[in-house]
């Protein structure tokens, strides 16, 4: 008991990582361990996360739960952790290298695919669609957009008008949407690579008094509220809370020499107005899954 788990997340600005951190905290508390949060002061800064790893290696926590800010560029950092023989669990983005006890994440591709499918089904398989992408080159964005595109391919009746980046930023998505509405008089569906951009796009549509179906990804509180009020069609649940919980659970179990699961890829849930209730509770009140529940999740 009393292990310290160092939890690395990408930034302190994206609500998603807050859910990860709360999940990790909850699980650690439940298991009588404690967490130390490491977050780059500059959002998503590679050099800073590398430095933090180096500093943590000096400090020697019992184990590490790790989200790489960049899945390729952080490999040397992971190797440093490996060299220091600190057990490490990978969550969220799958690192391109290094040795991990376990990986807990969601499959961005199927998340994008499923959510986009839901939108296209709602539209009856046709209509004019725009994609608002996240940060170019980030793993999450690449896979989500690939999922969007594959869903579009399954529906030849739908037409992709434009695919422009909003860098996961609300304001940029809003402005991109405003500009796109100028050159496209009919937009039926918007596929946004995260919730903040989806909400930005909705604001743009509202401002122009136009209607379109919009989906986002992450299942943030804001998105749930928007789904409740009917503004947002759906949000693909990325399950940050579970990722934090299960990642921490695996780390602590490994320390206590209990069995761990090598890989848990959380199944995508498309949150819609029919199934949002379980997601509508405050983070702190949500409960982490048990090991049995977690192993069931991995079975899929």
């Amino acid at each position: 008991d009393g292990e310290t788990i160092a939890v690395f997340t990408k930034n302190q600005t994206n609500p998603f990582f807050q859910t990860v951190r709360v999940g990790a905290d909850n699980m650690a508390k439940a298991m009588n361990a404690k967490t130390l949060q490491y977050i780059p002061t500059k959002p998503d800064s590679i050099p800073e996360q590398l430095s933090q790893i180096e500093d943590v290696v000096v400090k020697k926590p019992s184990a590490i739960v790790f989200t790489p800010v960049d899945y390729k560029a952080m490999v040397p950092g992971v190797e440093k952790i490996n060299d220091a023989k600190i057990p490490v669990v990978n969550i969220t983005d799958r690192s391109a290298g290094g040795k991990f006890l376990s990986f807990v994440g969601a499959d961005d591709y199927s998340l994008g695919l499923e959510t986009a499918r839901f939108l296209l089904k709602t539209l009856g398989g046709k209509g004019n669609i725009v994609i608002i992408e996240g940060v170019k080159g980030s793993l999450t964005n690449v896979d989500r957009v690939r999922g969007f595109n594959d869903a579009l391919k399954e529906n030849p009746g739908a037409k992709l008008l434009a695919s422009q980046p909003g860098n996961y930023q609300r304001l940029q998505a809003l402005q991109v949407m405003e500009n796109l509405m100028q050159s496209n008089s009919q937009i039926d569906g918007v596929l946004a690579a995260n919730d903040a951009m989806a909400v930005g796009a909705i604001e743009a549509l509202d401002g122009a008094n136009r209607k379109a179906q919009v989906i986002g990804i992450n299942g943030t509180k804001e998105a749930i509220d928007a789904i409740k009020s009917g503004k947002l069609l759906a949000s693909g649940d990325y399950n940050g809370f579970y990722q934090g919980c299960i990642g921490t659970m695996m780390a602590i179990r490994a320390l206590r020499e209990q069995p761990v699961i090598g890989e848990i890829v959380l199944k995508p849930t498309v949150i819609t107005k029919d199934n949002y209730q379980p997601f509508d509770t405050p983070l702190e009140q949500r409960t982490c899954p048990t090991f049995e529940e977690a192993s069931k999740l991995s079975a899929k």
Binding site: Q37, P40, I46, E54, A73, V75, P76, K136, G137
Partner: protein, 316 residues
């Protein structure tokens, strides 16, 4: 350029600057409260982490002494880091990669110098423009993706040791020695003082301030190229946002280190202390694991406090 009122200013070498006090205070503080802070391994950590910033802050000192500024350094470093990655990936040669990085860096530096010296565009504006260009080019050459799979020879630069000292530290020391020699013991160094202190004097001495300015900025770009190699080695990959914002850290280190923005008053050792102060602060805060938001604010507080201390002294 404004005629500054002639005020007698003590030589910065003859007083203990705010930055030295801040650094000492930080070391004492963290030594007392941060477990593991006073270990050789951790010192080596801090030093290694500071190398990339050192390589930017040293030429930045010269640029600021010339009454200039280079906002493009972080973006250029990003671009050169990508070039190192891409070229060494395709040629399997670390040296060719380094060459490409340095070449691109020098080219950007030269463009900066040209814009500032020949076109007479204020440095802030010129380098803000090239910042955008370098950032755009980084996105374009990488298409926003990380570049991975580069040869191990690149990575070894970061992890290897020489006589037990990590190679990045050796490189940084060599760079510091080179800059120290360059600024204080060569003709070029004297001319750098004159660039900020009195450009007319250079003209009357039959020297071309424009060429010198271009050289100073080119030096900055070249060092961004070298630092780009370190960055690539550190990440074992190239990434289109890796170095963004580093220029502000470099400027902050220079300012904290006591180089003034007017009249060519520069102090290289102060810059080094400034870099280390930032490094020690970040490292120490990580070790005592304060909330991350406190860490965010702390660098700002350091900058303000160090300059405030300097202000107190120069008034006393």
């Amino acid at each position: 350029m404004r005629e500054a009122a002639v005020v007698a200013q003590p030589n910065p070498l003859q007083r203990i600057p705010g930055v030295a006090i801040a650094l000492a205070a930080l070391i004492v503080l963290f030594g007392a409260i941060a477990p593991g802070f006073l270990t050789p391994a951790n010192f080596s950590n801090v030093l290694v982490q500071s190398t990339i910033l050192t390589m930017l802050a040293l030429p930045m000192t010269l640029i600021i002494m010339s009454e200039g500024l280079d906002l493009s350094m972080g973006a250029v470093l990003t671009l050169t880091s990508l070039c190192v990655a891409i070229v060494s990936l395709s040629t399997k040669s670390m040296l060719l990669g380094l060459g490409a990085g340095v070449l691109v860096g020098a080219a950007f530096g030269t463009v900066n110098g040209w814009l500032v010296a020949i076109l007479g565009i204020p440095p802030f504006v010129a380098t803000l423009g090239t910042l955008g260009m370098a950032q755009g080019l980084s996105l374009i050459v990488s298409d926003g993706q990380s570049v991975v799979g580069i040869p191990h020879s690149v990575r070894d630069i970061y992890s290897a040791t020489l006589l037990g000292i990590p190679v990045p530290i050796v490189l940084a020391l060599v760079t510091y020695a080179a800059f120290h020699g360059l600024l204080y013991h060569t003709r070029f160094g004297s001319y750098v003082f004159a660039l900020g202190g009195n450009r007319e004097a250079l003209r009357y001495a039959g020297l071309s301030p424009n060429k010198l300015l271009i050289a100073v900025y080119a030096l900055g770009g070249t060092m961004a190229g070298v630092a780009g190699l370190l960055m690539t080695a550190r990440m074992n990959s190239g990434h289109p946002t890796a170095g963004l914002g580093l220029e502000f850290d470099a400027i902050a280190a220079v300012a904290v280190g006591g180089t003034s923005f007017e009249r060519g008053n520069g102090w290289l050792l102060g810059t080094l202390l400034g870099v280390l102060a930032v490094g020690v602060l970040r490292n120490g805060l990580n070790l005592i694991s304060l909330p991350s938001s406190v860490q965010v604010a702390s660098v700002g507080v350091l900058v303000i406090v160090a300059l405030f201390l300097d202000g107190l002294r120069s008034r006393a």
